[in-house]
């Protein structure tokens, strides 16, 4: 066995091992319970090993992975979200006797593996492989919806084609970047010292296009509501959370936390404005809760990009708390939808179905309101401080236009978030209490834990505002370190 100059974060060892064990156990005996517990165990073990790495020797050789606080932080967030989503989907899958549900945990593990790979990667090759593992397993997950096979297949097909197209653009950009620099190191090519001046620009723009598509920033957002509507509720939560964290983490890894290349400023401002306004305006007229949350997640990507666009002292803390706030509140909303769906026997995604929930299920309805208020950025929830920090990064750089857009977007957001609470408060149209309450303690517990995180994080936000981003000194701040890094990586075999 040749283990020389390997540098591996341990999650990338534990997670594939668990996936292979799961596959073996499926070939031996198909049982939903066993697959679920194996997947759960794998995710927990991976989470435990997040801070560790396996390294034999580290010289200037080709590095595919890195391991620092930022990677650990986002990987832990991804793993925790996957754990929650596994918990959400348990009822859905266990009820389904038509089809063997073993593939669901397998695909979920594979998707998580792709996301974690992206988080740790410092090389185009590992980044792209991670991205594709994530996209392909997402396609399978989207199609995994019993009783709604045509809708789910349509959504999966849409996702497959659009994601393949965007991957092609991304790959073209990576090829151009390789042409420009001769290295697969995960950093934007420097336009200053290049033979063909347009090449690095084109490469960066194409790579950004691919990344923005996966993030569903506004000119490339069309797939998001459709795909999330077609998928089942836990998978919709997965789409809204895990790929976004992973791609955003890779975006920060790519550009670093220093100043962005000057030619990107205009583009980024335009995309942020479009994303915030577009996401919020799209959400206004939605009657489907999943579509509404999809549009709101587009808007939240806009806020996150604003933090990305404003490097500085506050940026790190802002990104840290915003990721947590977005993840917990979105997960919480989807957990309430799942809990309600199993209790009512409906899908739970039609907003009109939520009438009178405050009288029927007061606890769940309060939790839902808390999550929505946090997403809207109202003080008891963690979302207030998150949005406050985002605004602070904008103020630090005096980006007045973007701040105005942020405020406008938040006001529009208030309307549709509060509208759901209004619907839940209004009396139910029919009082035929179909009292077939099934107990689902794991969903209630999950909602409870997420609600506690949202409240406690909102009261003591200082615990969560931590410098997690990679230090800006190492990544393209000034030409001299950049060029040394470049020559360093240029000598390596690709």
């Amino acid at each position: 066995m040749l283990i020389h100059d390997l540098f591996l974060p341990l999650p990338l060892v534990v997670l594939p091992t668990g996936t292979m064990l799961l596959l073996l156990s499926i070939t031996w005996h198909r049982s939903a319970t066993r697959s679920f517990s194996l997947a759960l165990l794998t995710l927990l073990l991976t989470l435990a090993f997040t801070h560790h790495r396996l390294t034999t020797f580290l010289h200037g050789g080709t590095t595919f992975f890195t391991e620092d606080l930022w990677a650990d932080y986002t990987a832990a967030l991804i793993l925790l979200s996957s754990l929650c989503i596994l918990g959400l989907s348990w009822r859905n899958i266990a009820r389904d006797t038509d089809q063997p549900p073993d593939e669901y945990p397998l695909l979920l593990l594979l998707g998580t593996l792709g996301a974690v790979t992206m988080v740790f990667s410092t090389n185009y090759m590992s980044f792209f492989l991670g991205l594709e593992i994530l996209s392909l397993s997402l396609t399978g997950l989207v199609a995994f919806r019993h009783h709604h096979i045509p809708a789910a297949s349509e959504a999966a097909m849409k996702y497959l084609i659009l994601s393949g197209f965007s991957s092609a653009i991304l790959l073209f950009g990576i090829g151009l970047a390789y042409t420009a620099t001769g290295s697969l190191h995960f950093a934007p090519p420097d336009p200053a010292n290049n033979a063909i001046p347009g090449l690095p620009l084109a490469a960066t723009i194409m790579i950004l296009t691919g990344i923005f598509f996966k993030l569903s920033a506004v000119p490339f957002h069309m797939w998001m509501p459709d795909v999330m509507e077609g998928a089942s509720v836990p998978v919709a939560a997965f789409i809204a959370i895990v790929p976004k964290i992973a791609v955003f983490s890779a975006l920060i890894r790519y550009f670093g936390t220093g100043d962005l290349p000057p030619f990107l400023h205009g583009t980024l401002s335009a995309i942020i404005i479009l994303t915030i306004l577009g996401g919020n305006l799209l959400a206004l007229r939605q009657t489907n809760l999943t579509r509404l949350l999809a549009c709101s997640s587009i808007a939240h990507v806009g806020y996150l990009l604003m933090a990305f666009y404003s490097p500085g002292l506050i940026q790190s803390g802002a990104v840290a708390i915003y990721l947590i706030a977005y993840t917990t509140a979105t997960l919480g909303a989807f957990a309430v939808i799942s809990a309600l769906a199993t209790q009512e026997g409906t899908d739970g995604t039609n907003i009109a179905d939520w009438k009178g929930q405050f009288t029927k299920h007061p606890l769940l309805a309060s939790a839902m309101s808390l999550m929505l208020l946090s997403l809207a950025g109202i003080p008891p929830g963690i979302g207030f401080f998150a949005k406050f920090e985002i605004a602070a990064t904008g103020v630090e750089h005096q980006r007045n236009l973007l701040l105005a857009v942020l405020v406008t977007g938040s006001i529009i957001g208030l309307y549709y978030y509060l509208n759901i609470i209004r619907v839940m408060l209004s009396p139910a149209s029919f009082s035929s209490q179909t009292d077939n309450r099934r107990n689902n303690p794991e969903l209630t517990a999950l909602v409870f834990v997420l609600a506690i995180i949202v409240v406690v994080g909102g009261i003591f936000p200082a615990w969560l505002i931590r410098p997690v981003l990679p230090a800006s000194a190492s990544v393209n701040t000034a030409p001299p370190p950049d060029t040394t890094q470049e020559t360093d990586s240029r000598t390596l075999p690709p």
Binding site: L2, H4, D5, L6, L8, L12, P16, T19, L23, G61, T62, F64, F65, D98, Q99, E103, L106, L107, L110, G111, L113, G114, T117, M125, S126, L129, G130, E132, I133, L136, S137, T139, G140, A143, F144, H147, I149, S153, A156, P493
Partner: protein, 165 residues
């Protein structure tokens, strides 16, 4: 040499366009072979004979056989002989055949004429193998997981289900 590269590259594009515009799957596959051969020519003329050989052996060879096999298996609506007669009309296969012959000649010429002197030594299969089992071993593993994800997804979507309303 640049003329030949441009010729092969333009054939790649033409072949790819023909692939997605053909109505019958077998004809599309014929054009796909042309596309792969043209791509292999581009690789050879750019000085990457190993990549070109892989392109021909794996894509134009193994994967195409698989495609044709699958196409033959699917959709036995008409009698076999009629279908094959319809698939193999001369005007369907003549174009790809001529182009493929041309490209094969170009490929042979390129392999013969590639100068093996100069500082960047050509990458041999040994180098590739050492790199795959050395520093890139994790990439190989990830690529296999990518294939696994694709396989499970395709299996799940393509599985025969009883029609339920």
């Amino acid at each position: 040499m640049p003329v030949m590269i441009l010729f092969a590259a333009s054939l790649t594009v033409i072949g790819a366009v023909m692939v997605i515009t053909r109505r019958i799957a077998v004809h599309a596959v014929l054009w796909l072979v042309v596309t792969f051969l043209a791509l292999a020519c581009v690789f050879t003329l750019l000085g990457a004979p190993f990549a070109a050989a892989l392109e021909v052996i794996i894509y134009a060879g193994a994967i195409m056989v698989l495609f044709i096999f699958v196409i033959m298996m699917i959709g036995p609506a008409q009698p076999e002989s009629d279908r094959e007669k319809e698939w193999l009309r001369p005007r369907a296969w003549l174009g790809p055949a001529i182009l493929a012959t041309l490209l094969c000649g170009e490929l042979l010429f390129g392999l013969r004429a590639t100068p093996h002197t100069g500082t960047p030594a050509p990458i041999t299969p040994r180098d590739v193998g050492l790199s795959l089992f050395g520093p890139c071993v994790m990439m190989v593993e990830l690529a296999s997981f990518l294939l696994l994800a694709g396989l499970v997804t395709a299996f799940h979507i393509g599985r025969h289900r009883p029609e339920t309303p």
